[in-house]
């Protein structure tokens, strides 16, 4: 027989700072962000940060907001930094109060850093075949198997491949420029970190087909040979 249980869970959720909920351009602003990364934003839960608005004290305000966001396939799940009146209205439309961090809008990356090891790392132990896409939302991705050409790995954090990486690897998918990509055998078709990318043809051949890592160095994506610490490099 199925058992119901109550447990704690730790998640990373996107925050949308609300200025004017009735601004007709709000939908377009959100839509533009979604358009850049449609798969990441599809049905994503969002928390509404009300720190900068005096509005949203009525149920009607929230209903309007929810409609605009649902149209972009975002799912409002709560509010942050709400006044007593705002919270009353929010609860009436099933938006829960979320704890505020510093009282200002917080990017997903900072929240993940604050949570530290609380964000789960996704582990994959079977080969990632051509055409497969794996997205580690909110954390790192570790693959202990070969990654075929034509496969795609995505992570909000770092990507680690203990095997040949022959497909595409996209780390820091939501903008974390500190993310890195590690591969035991670097043969990737494409590497990207926080929007900066490098195609196979542009990768220095002396670093390929051996252990290597990719990182953003002064805003440019670079391949660094090996995993050994080089005291001279720093």
């Amino acid at each position: 027989m199925a058992v119901n249980r109550v447990e704690g869970g730790i998640f990373t959720v996107m925050v949308i700072g609300i200025g004017d909920p009735h601004d007709p351009a709000l939908g377009e602003t959100v839509a533009e962000q979604v358009r850049r990364n449609p798969d990441f934003f599809a049905n994503a839960p969002v928390v509404l940060d009300l720190a900068e608005t005096l509005s949203c004290t009525s149920v009607a305000d929230f209903v309007a907001l929810k409609t605009v966001l649902r149209r972009q396939r975002l799912v409002p799940v709560g509010v942050q930094n709400a006044s007593a009146a705002q919270l009353r209205a929010a609860l009436a439309v099933d938006l829960a109060p979320f704890p505020s961090v510093g009282g200002r809008r917080v990017a997903a990356r900072n929240e993940a850093k604050a949570n530290g090891s609380g964000v789960a790392t996704r582990l994959v132990t079977r080969p990632v075949r051509s055409g497969m896409q794996i997205y580690a939302r909110g954390g790192d991705l570790v693959v202990v198997a070969p990654v075929s050409a034509g496969a795609e790995l995505l992570a909000d954090g770092n990507i680690h491949v203990y095997g040949p990486l022959r497909g595409r690897a996209i780390a820091g998918a939501r903008g974390d420029g500190d993310a890195r990509i590690f591969a035991q055998r670097m043969e990737a078709e494409l590497l990207a970190i926080a929007g900066r990318y490098l195609v196979s043809e542009a990768m220095p051949p002396e670093h390929l087909k051996r252990p290597a890592q990719a990182a953003l160095v002064e805003d440019r994506l670079q391949i660094l040979p090996g995993f050994e610490f080089d005291p001279g490099r720093e």
């Binding site: 079977r126 075949r129 055409g131 198997a145 075929s148 034509g150």
Partner: protein, 271 residues
């Protein structure tokens, strides 16, 4: 309960139908009651390769639609006891493969047969996905050539996610790689991917290596599965593959360039 084997590849023209015919025949020759089914609706050719195209009355689609019973559509092979062919329709297309209909047919076949070999169409759409859905085993037919290897990788990924075993979280479909149209001389010259190259890219166990052979064309033209041709190296290789499938150890013949015997070389030079 019968075991379902899907013969698939992703890429077209690599030898799926030839392999389905040869393996089904091989299994039947070993005493297992076997049926081979054509899933390539609209582009059927299994019946041609099996040599029974002039005896097709009812087909897979007729049975799915309830127009005929299973035993009216099954064709008993004239040469080998225990071997049956289940042809498909030439006039319909893959949309005629309805999920419930196929499920019912497969359940019935599992009751009656030891092995059910499914000859898949090329591609990764409805026809190919329907063919692999019920598989317990998959024979992935691959030519030692880069686009075939890439497509095989894709179809292996689909076996891992779109099969019924994957949906129900059961033990995964067993994967067997069959390398066809292999030419050891071309590999030695560096023109063709080697066995090790393919193993490195695909990470799947090798079931067998079928050498490139003119006898394959002759076999399909005469409607005789190549495994029945005693002079054919491809036929011998298929025999080895069937033996390995059934758990026997066999050395990989046909993997090395043919050693020209000393006498042959001497006479060759003298003439």
């Amino acid at each position: 309960m019968g075991k379902v084997i899907v013969v698939t590849s992703g890429k077209g023209g690599v030898g799926k139908t030839t392999t389905s015919a040869a393996m089904a025949t091989g299994l039947a020759l070993r005493g297992h009651k076997t049926v081979v089914i054509d899933f390539d609706v609209g582009l059927r050719n299994l019946d041609l390769v099996m040599g029974c195209e002039r005896r097709v009355v009812f087909d897979f689609i007729n049975v799915i639609n309830g127009d005929a019973k299973l035993n009216q559509a099954l064709i008993k092979d004239k040469r080998i006891d225990k071997l049956y062919v289940f042809p498909t329709s030439q006039t319909r297309d893959k949309d005629a493969l309805k999920r419930d209909g196929v499920d019912k047919v497969m359940d019935e076949l599992r009751e009656e047969f030891d092995y059910i070999v499914c000859d898949s169409p090329a591609g990764i759409e409805h026809g190919a996905l329907t063919a692999l859905y019920h598989a317990d085993h998959a024979v992935i037919v691959t030519n030692p050539e880069i686009s075939s290897v890439r497509d095989s990788d894709r179809i292996i990924g689909m076996l891992a996610s779109k099969s019924r075993r994957a949906e129900r979280n059961e033990a995964p479909v067993a994967e067997h790689l069959l390398l066809t149209r292999y030419s050891p001389d071309r590999v030695a010259r560096g023109e063709m991917l080697s066995i090790d190259d393919v193993k490195e890219i695909l990470s799947v166990r090798i079931l067998g290596i079928i050498p490139e052979s003119e006898t394959v064309l002759r076999a399909s033209n005469t409607g005789t599965p190549v495994i029945l041709d005693p002079t054919s190296p491809a036929g011998r290789a298929y025999e080895d593959a069937v033996a390995r499938f059934l758990g026997e150890q066999r050395e990989l013949r046909f993997a090395m360039p043919e050693r020209r015997s000393f006498l042959r070389a001497w006479f060759g030079r003298a003439s």
